[in-house]
Amino acid sequence: MLTKELVAASTEPMILSILSEGESYGYALIQEVKRLSGDKIEWTDGMLYPVLHRMEAEGWIEARWGKSETGRKRKYYSLKQEGKKALKIQREQWAAVSGVFKQLWKEKYA
């Protein structure tokens, strides 16, 4: 499991990255991150929605009420232009961090 601080720092770039592939909804976002992390990252429902609402308030993402496959109403989120810009900056920053670790730990995992 990730530390609270790491989850806090990585949640927004992960949401932005998933939404850059197309619109999605809360439950699917949680499942996608769980799948991609091999069950190592499991966001709680109570944490995700406030973050989504804050990102919406920041103007990074927008929401619309649509229908699920079974006809229920469901809230879908998609990336806005400001969100694309934020994602670009965050990608650069995370790539810098990742690049350092790759070099530092190269020998260990070679």
Binding site: Y27, T44, Y49, E58, R72, R74, A86
Partner: protein
């Protein structure tokens, strides 16, 4: 096909959430949608609806904890609100400055030294909030809203103390021109400085892109 038992359980869950302070329709409708997603998923894994409901409710958490999480978001002004607030503050500062400038321009009883001091105070009041807004890059990025509030609040307390000193010790015994200059330096310019500080700190914190999610 809606299941009346499940709908009844969800309706009761909604009542519990409302009682705990989670607001309707936002975010309660979205949480209900999430709950139903989770139930559908659990039933495909072989759980019956009652078991799936219990598991989903457990995952979504207690109403009080959810309310606390949403409250953290509610405290933050959105980008649009913050921009509106900035425009409102700067419009007020600018219009107020023009009004006082007209007043200073019509005063014939003030000595040139007093007028100079008056104009200097007015320019200070007008310029500092604009510097705060436009020069946010020169302000420290303080992520903690609480720390920013403490700094700005302390500035407010200092100004209030300064006003008390002004009223009791400085204002008495001056002619009208002198009083106007003192009011401008004593009341108006410090407010401009405080607004500049507040706008600068808030804008610097908001322009910094990597945020700490409220988790």
């Amino acid at each position: 096909m809606p299941n009346p038992n499940l709908d009844q359980s969800i309706s009761e869950w909604r009542q519990q959430m409302l009682a705990a302070g989670v607001k309707s329709p936002v975010p309660l409708d979205e949480l209900e949608s999430h709950l139903r997603d989770e139930i559908e998923q659990q039933t495909t894994k072989g759980l019956n609806e009652a078991e799936a409901f219990r598991a989903a409710v457990k995952n979504i958490g207690q109403g009080r904890a959810l309310k606390t999480e949403f409250k953290k978001v509610g405290r933050t002004m959105s980008v649009r609100e913050w921009k509106g607030f900035q425009v409102l503050m700067l419009s007020f500062v600018t219009l107020f400055s023009f009004a006082v400038a007209r007043l200073l321009g019509h005063r014939r009883d003030m000595a040139s030294g007093q007028l100079m001091l008056g104009w200097a105070a007015l320019v200070t009041f007008l310029v500092l909030p604009w510097i705060g807004c436009l020069g946010y890059r020169f302000f420290p990025i303080i992520r903690s809203k609480r720390t920013r509030d403490i700094i700005i609040g302390s500035g407010g307390v200092l100004i209030a103390l300064w006003w008390i000193v002004m009223f009791n010790f400085i204002l008495s015994g001056h002619d009208m021109g002198g009083i106007l200059v003192i009011i401008l330096w004593g009341f108006v310019a410090p407010v401009g400085a405080l607004m500049g500080l507040a706008l600068g700190l808030e804008t610097a914190a908001r322009k910094n892109v990597i945020y700490h999610a409220g988790v």
